[in-house]
Amino acid sequence: MHKINNLATVIDAEITSNRKVGAYHHIAFSVGNMAAHVRPGNFVALSVGGPGASTVLRRAFAIYRSTHLGNNQGQIELVIAPHGQGSSWVASRAVGEKVSMIGPLGTSFGIPSEPARALLVGGGYGSAPLFGLSEVLKSRGCRVDMVLGASTAMKIYAPLEGKRSVNSLTVTTEDGSAGTQGRVSDVIPALIDENAIDVIYSCGPMGMLEAITEIARTKGIVHQCAVEESMACGIGVCMTCVLPVKGDDGVVRMLRSCIDGPVMDGESVQWQAKRTIPEGTWGGI
């Protein structure tokens, strides 16, 4: 993984398009120079609710795509699932409205120095950052296979141009309304073998990332995942977004997912910790 993107700025980003796509809203923002610094896996933090809102915290959203045309003309696109107060507010903004945006934030996916065979796995809106990643990987000569999973067809986010950028696309839904019925973890082992995968990139619910980590460990391949912990600030100052991660020295530390993540090495994350501090964690009691 690449280290934290420290070119983040705070801007008022104007919405240039807002389209409903399945269960999601695909929203484009005019962001000036911010787009120039985006790397795949980075995220932005948006203010929600407008003036006088009772929501005091930002919401993090993975960057789906960023386009920089030079001359301060950049665009960042997000894929938003209207869920609670914050995301629903963003999803219902009209073209022309401005939203306060901080970005680009966090670590990005590491790109192999040699052409490799990559499997990209996305759950729900977790597919968003994978298309930009896919483009970069392809441009470096990698083979890219993709698996997208969700509970139901409406929650599979796979735009046409995205599909075109991958060598193969496998879809799974829990209700069988699109692709194979089941979960992404049901189809990944076979895909790894068939395509002689070297590295897995993933983004989605924590349970999915945990399952993929287990598969990657069994198969002995590298797994980079973008985690999603509840974040109050997104910029590393509050310490709410931590999770236990084993370092190269073998010591487990509580790391901030907004600064040491969201992209992390799957195997180093201590998934089993759930609502506990794993025994032996640095500074634990």
């Binding site: 983040a8 005091v56 109050a232 600030c233 910029i235 100052v237 509050c238 500074g283």
Partner: protein
Amino acid sequence: MFDFSTTLGSSRFDNPILTASGCAGSGKELSQFFPLASLGGIVTKSIMLKPRSGRATPRMAETPSGMLNSIGLQGPGIDLFLENDIPWLQTQGVRIVISIAGETVEDYAVLARKVRGVSGVAALEVNISCPNVENRGQVFACHPETARAAIEAVRRNVGGDFPIIAKLSPDVTDIAGIATEVVSAGADGLALINTVLGMVIDTSTMRPKLAGKTGGLSGPAIRPVAVRAIYQVHQALPHVSILGMGGVSNGQDALQLILAGASAVSVGTATFGNPLAAVTIKSELEAILINKGFNSTAEAVGYAHRAD
């Protein structure tokens, strides 16, 4: 010429807006957004004697106009902190207030000794809203005797002229009483207020949302509590400087705390919503004070207490 500077105990600050402990990381993260030296000072995250993992996650829950946190004082411990974080801050030209937190009275004593010699430190903020492991985990700040003991330990070990600011919890029956106690124990100033104890229950899991069950409530929701606490304490102890905090998110809010009796104001939760909050608040406050005809920050401190 308007004089924006202020003092806490014997320490002078160029302007009265500081960060709040635990809400500005190590300073470095914020310096990406503005020069730290533009603030009155940086209050560092409360540091303990030993490295500390903090509490398990989830550590936060958003609430109406506020949030709960239960970080549990995660940090590297005083030695690594003095080795790694302080030297960088010293290069930034910003006034540093170090916040310390202990689990025993002896912890506070040792921390005070370790911090005593550090150059460029404007004051020590003593966070006594910590569970006292020697007394059934009761929070130091909640009882006059334990609050006094912690502050006395710091005063004894830090030397006579180093400004000590005792940070109090609002979760007490009589905050002016606790304030009086810690001042007589050697505190030069008071930091008011720490978070208010709260809980959110997640209605999907039907359990407390935070792994640590309870957490500290901060943000605009608690501002009226902060203003009240500052007003009461300033009334009881008009000559003791107060570093106010609690839900300040714009210049008007900061002014409320100052009029109530705060000589300086820390900005906490607002920074999470806007990394530039503290500098923006500083500019707004300066404009408001000038506009209202004050000649200095000092003139406005406690102004709401004036007779008719």
